[in-house]
Amino acid sequence: MSAFFDFAVIGGGLVGAALARGMAREGLSVCVLDEGDVAYRASRGNFALVWLQSKGINMPAYANWTRRSVELWPAYAAGLLNETGIDVSLQQDGGFHLALSDIEMERLIAVAEGVNGQPGVKPYPYSVLDGDEVRRRLPGAGPAIVGGTYSPLDGHVNALRLYRAMHKALIAAGVDYRPGSRVARISHAGGFSLSIDGGGEVRAKRIVLTAGLDNARLAPMVGLSAPVRPQRGNIIVTEKAAPFLKMPVQTVRQTDEGSVMIGDSQEEAGLSEDINSGIMGVMADRAIRMFPAIADLNIVRMWACLRVLSPDGFPIYDQSKTHPGAFLATCHSGVTLAAVHAAVLAPHIARGTLPEEAQAFHAGRLHVPKAA
């Protein structure tokens, strides 16, 4: 069997699934080679925010790219519903960052002003709130909250349903999805030849690397560079409760089905997916100080998962100079950026280019010597 695809997408997480579906809709034959659920699967461990505020300090292009995706999300969710019948429960009624001390509050304000004060950034709307105003807007918010920032553009989705919808949409779009297919080697001669672990070969005219952490291994095979590293995040999930939290907070949200999720720790722990009970304790304590009533809820699940982080924290979109037709797309905000990946990045890559707005994200930006 030696099908010759227009595109092979290596990695079936949120990034690969969004791109593959988008490219198939451009009329290309697309194959997705996915390691499977044994992979370090950031797409299964994320916190499910569709988030803009605070993002893009030192990289105006990232603030704008994120803004574009957040604005494309309603149409993206509607498209998924139409194609798959799955409602991903997108809610974009706004979101909060909350501060539990004056220092945290100063930091929130500095970040908001820092992002929006950069030349070339279209400032996002936000308000700075004192503790009483937070408590007025968020019933259940506790007395320990000093203040917060609110942006009407933030929101969240049901991440598990999103991932399922994206995969159902892949199949509906005619993509050849192959789980259990870890790519061992890539060679390039009259197209790309991908040898699969355990035997087998897939051939394609062009390829996109969307393999998350494994991009670091794969990219040099086609003259690209993906210096990504794992950063561990812990998440706590409670039993389902009647809705009380109307809008998501960056570290605490209530899902459409009622679970409260507590998240957003950041640890450098290599490839370990072990949970860290010390950090979990701090996360739970902070969440309870924000919303005292959740102290009575049972915790039903905790997990740790690995973010895919570049040295400056921003995405890498690139195409190979030495291996024409090889592309790379990797980021850590696969949920937020899914809409722009599907609607903007995919059609461009399908035509063999990167969009103007994504030019700044090439890996070359990372190859500068550190200042002495």
């Binding site: 389902k240 089905e257 959740i294």
Partner: protein
Amino acid sequence: MFRRLPETYQGWVSLTIDGGVCVGREGDSVAALLLEAGYAACRNSAVSGEPRGPYCMMGVCFECLVEIDGIANRQACLVPIAEGMKVETGAGRRKVTP
């Protein structure tokens, strides 16, 4: 619907389910006793509201949630019965009162 294997006999343990006295065997889980007592369902789904009952019996499916000794939504299949325990069925979504 369920019958005990004769060799599983152990000591007796009495507790209440929804206020009624119920006698099980030492080592039973709350879920096993619920099934023996004829409860096909013990709660209502927090999402759809439909009745649900013990299913996997090994801590995975979260269908057998009941209130045990005042703590809501415990997994009945993971809790061994104990003398004087109070089990309440029929809960729906957990309420959070701000």
